[in-house]
């Protein structure tokens, strides 16, 4: 190692103690600087997070159909076999005059072409899809990314559909004999999304009442599995 210009370091017997002390000083300075930055950015960051959450929710939860605060009135559900994720998913509940009107929840298509595709879905009280958005994915650019609403309107074809429309057996991509188009060059990606949406609708058909009844902030566990339909 080349000689350091730092004077005195390691030359006197107390070299190590001095080094430790200096390292401590560096740590204190770093932490102090960080604390200041954190203090200044805390509020804008919280605001940016809430803004992003509201913007995403507004797409799948029409604003005119609830009069409560879905962000405050949300619960967590852990349903690994239904929602495709081992961790809890958040459910935002929208009520109109106290009655179940619509809800939005996170779901995962675990079997995308490159890993998980995270979805945000809104479903009304009759089990009809209000909207679906992909919030995070790693699908191939140009092939799998038409699932993003910014790139194509493919994801909008779920709106208004429910488990009876089309019939449950038809909740597949066309190349699997179902009712949903895939897009050129990609079958795995749309297949994963269609199946995840169908599974999530099945989950709500079975457990919606329990989810709506739970107190806000609760974590609900649903260890059961969807009935094997295909």
């Amino acid at each position: 190692m080349s000689a350091e210009p730092t004077p005195g370091a390691g030359s006197e017997p107390s070299g190590l103690r001095r080094a430790a002390l200096l390292l401590g000083v560096c740590a204190v300075l770093s932490i102090g600087a960080l604390a200041v930055v954190e203090w200044f950015t805390r509020e804008p960051i919280a605001e940016a997070r809430a803004q992003a959450e509201r913007a995403a929710l507004a797409v799948v939860l029409p604003l005119d159909r609830y009069d409560n605060d879905p962000i405050a009135d949300s619960v967590w559900v852990r349903a690994p076999l239904w929602l495709g994720r081992p961790e809890p998913a958040r459910v935002w509940r929208g009520r109109l005059a106290g009655a179940d009107s619509e809800l939005a929840l996170e779901a995962t298509a675990p079997d995308g072409y490159s890993g998980r595709i995270e979805l945000l879905m809104g479903v009304d009280a009759q089990g009809r899809v209000l909207g679906v958005r992909v919030t995070r994915h790693a699908e191939t650019p140009g092939l799998g990314d038409p699932i993003e609403a910014e790139r194509s309107d493919w994801i909008n074809r779920f709106a208004g559909r429910s488990l009876g429309d089309p019939a449950i057996e038809q909740w597949k991509v066309r190349s699997d004999g179902g009712a949903f188009d895939q897009f050129a060059g990609a079958t795995v990606t749309p297949r994963a999304v269609v199946e995840a949406v169908a599974r999530t609708l099945g989950f709500l058909a079975q457990h919606r009442a329990a989810i709506m009844a739970a107190p806000a902030g609760e974590l609900l566990e649903f260890p059961d599995a969807p009935a094997e339909s295909n």
Partner: protein, 242 residues
Amino acid sequence: MPLPSRTESARLLEAGVWSQNVGLVQLLGLCPLLAVSGTSVNALGLGLATLLALVGTNVAISLIRRLTAAEVRIPAFVMVIAAVVTSIELAMHALLPELHRVLGIFLPLIVTNCAILGRAEALASRVDPARALLDALGMGLGFLGVLMALGLARELIGQGSLFAGAGPLLGLPGLELKLSDHRFLIAALPPGAFVLLGLMIAARQWWLQRPRQAAPVSISAPVPSISAPAQTISAPARIESA
């Protein structure tokens, strides 16, 4: 140490931008370079963040260079770098939340960009803040330049657009340019990044090794023999241990 002279300043800047370029010569920080250069907006965002991080860490480390004992200098540098990068990440989250979302993990990962620790160890810890600042500017601009060149080329070839997403991500919708609907997918994928970076490095080498026009021969100077070896590449890059 006196302030750097004009020629020394120019030399420091030139080293970072060209002869010691982080991306093309030292080949440091390739992970973000290849991963985030898919579009020009991402490249610009990460390049600016890296430039800021380099400036912040180089100056900070130069300021505390007498405080860091030799035995613990690396942990001290890492701490300073982590603090600076985290500050930049927090600021970007607060000011440009959309861009922060797109860059994601690559912002905090600037901490592990060996170029930054490399500059701290090789230069900033030995010189005064003015020289450290110039070095950081040169290195940062060099890295930003390579990132931008890659980002522009990959977006243009891969998606037929330039600065797509500048509206929502940077708040500058005027920059967006849609040139063509043709897509040459490979450029947008990781292999395209490797290929294009390789071509850029090759182009740089070609430029350095190109046959020079014979300099006007002065009468007194001996005529250089034809067989003299072609100009070799400037001194081999000093690869920082990082």
